[in-house]
Amino acid sequence: MVSELYKRELIELSHNPYHFGKPKKIFSSHETFNPLCGDKITVYQSIDPSKAIELWFESVSCIICSASASILMKHSEGMDLNDGLEFIKEVQNAINDGSLCNHKFPKALHCLEEINNYPSRITCATLPWKTAFELLK
């Protein structure tokens, strides 16, 4: 059921995403497009990533993408660069194969698990993670 995809918490997240907007200082940034719809997301790193990860984002995007970005911003914050990159890669894979309900991931990610049943929307969920990886790698 589509109501399982559009869980309340997901919708809320998308209405009030964490670290949405340009940060005051920009260390680096990367922009990508969702090939499905042309939606654009820009991910910013506000400080030197060798110190810690601190991401912000701007996008015109759907609920799935905004909520996914919000979770990324929040849960990568303060991570060490290498750990962060690994985390991002793992989440990307888990979104693709529907294994987000794994104890190693933050609970917030569970609300994206259903996306695996909507193959045309998977890129909406992975786009922020893909963009952040490109930015930080």
Partner: protein, 409 residues
């Protein structure tokens, strides 16, 4: 609607086997016709019959199957020629689709285009009618100019008349916009272009299935469309061209069929239409597009048009009653395509939710990104109607949209 008409329409709908299915437990409501139409039995069977009875390679064979396959293929060309009222059958070139047709032209005219020549397109073009011209400009140093539109999605004809000049070499415009539904006044546009000796290219991808096309009356140099949007198969398209210009421009692809004589030193090209048809053609695709033209010819086209427009008008009225809905494209001359956005909601989320109710609409930029930029929107929800849709489907669409709004707000 009187019962007679209803019966006719129901009978037509019965011709489309795909429509008789459940999606997520609900009746399929297919409102994505501008992306691709469904296929009537007659088209599906024509392809099947061809493979079961007549298939062989064409043109170079003396055996019976080869003669039959050639006849099937060439008969399809005759049907297309009549469909467009082409003065000659050999002015019809089979391609892979509209995109292939435009790429053919944009590549083959290269030698006619010089630095600082201007190519005109419009703000409402499909990417297929933008990017090939950008590439032509890169190759030749020509300049791409864009005819603006107003917020209703109508071409600014006066601006166009001001933009065209002795530097203008080609104008390529969409007949019927896939995003806005706008029907452009192509006759007038072509007339103005002709008075400046400008080559005219009409992207008829959306128009060919909905409007009667007469290339002699239009007097355009090129007219293009795709089989899959006129109830025909994928992988086949049409390029109509005026004879003199088809003879003047270079061939596009090279290989079998398009040659008369090959040596390692030199090659002599074949006559029209073969000059532009290298390699084994999509024979079954041609057979299929022929059958789709027969299907269209068998329709009462006035009835079809009335019916589609009545669905359009009805849906528009109902949509406008929903709070927060904004219609994108309000041209005075329109076809049965409705694009809209809903305040605060992303088209994809709406599309995903109404799909739960069995409803197929297209969401996104519809391959018209510059047009999305013009309206400052990321995309639209687009419902596009065909002859087999009906009013109760519109009702369900409206209900589903209301549900989506409730769920997502």
């Amino acid at each position: 609607m009187n019962t007679k008409k209803k019966e006719v329409l129901n009978k037509i709908r019965d011709e489309f086997p795909i429509l008789d299915q459940k999606i997520n437990g609900e009746d399929l409501i297919y409102l994505d016709n501008a992306a691709s139409t469904q296929k009537p039995k007659s088209v599906i069977n024509a392809i099947k019959d061809y493979y079961e009875n007549d298939h062989s390679n064409v043109h170079r064979g003396v055996h019976t199957l080869s003669v039959r396959a050639t006849e099937a293929y060439e008969n399809a060309r005759v049907k297309v020629a009549e469909f467009l009222n082409s003065p000659n059958v050999h002015q019809i070139i089979f391609t892979k689709g509209t995109t292939d047709s435009i790429n053919l032209i944009a590549s083959s005219v290269t030698n006619l285009v010089q630095k600082d020549d201007e190519i005109l397109i419009t703000s409402m073009e499909h990417h297929s009618n933008i990017v090939p011209w950008q590439e032509l400009c890169k190759r030749t140093g020509a300049v791409l100019k864009v005819i603006p539109i107003n917020k209703n999605g109508e071409l600014l004809i006066d601006e166009y008349a001001n933009m065209i000049s002795s530097r203008t070499k080609i104008i390529s415009i969409v007949h019927l916009s896939n995003t806005l539904g706008t029907i452009n006044p192509v006759e007038d546009i072509i007339e103005i272009a002709k008075s400046h000796d400008v080559i005219t290219v009409i992207d008829g991808a959306q128009a060919a299935g909905h409007l009667p096309i007469d290339v002699q009356k239009l007097d355009c140099d090129f007219y293009l469309f795709s089989g899959h949007k006129i109830f025909g198969p994928t992988g086949i398209g049409v390029l109509y061209g005026k004879e003199n210009i088809l003879n003047e421009i270079d061939p596009y692809q090279f290989g079998g069929e398009m040659i008369l004589k090959v040596t390692f030193e030199e090659t002599t090209y074949n006559d029209l239409p073969h000059k532009f048809e290298a390699g084994t053609p999509n024979i079954a695709g041609a057979v299929g597009i022929g059958a789709s033209i027969d299907f269209i010819n068998g329709l009462d086209r006035d009835l079809a048009h009335q019916h589609e427009m009545s669905l359009h008008d009805y849906a528009l009225e109902k949509l406008e009653e929903i709070g927060g809905v904004r219609i994108i494209g309000n041209a005075s001359n329109k076809s049965a395509i409705i694009s809209f956005v809903i305040d605060g909601l992303h088209p994809h989320d709406i599309g995903t939710i109404i799909n739960q109710k069995g409803i197929a609409v297209r969401t996104g930029h519809h391959c018209t990104m510059p047009l999305m930029d013009f309206y400052s929107i990321p995309g639209t929800v687009r419902a596009s109607f065909s002859i087999y849709n009906n009013h109760s489907e519109v009702d369900k669409l409206i209900d589903a949209i209301k549900l989506a709004i409730k769920m997502l707000k």
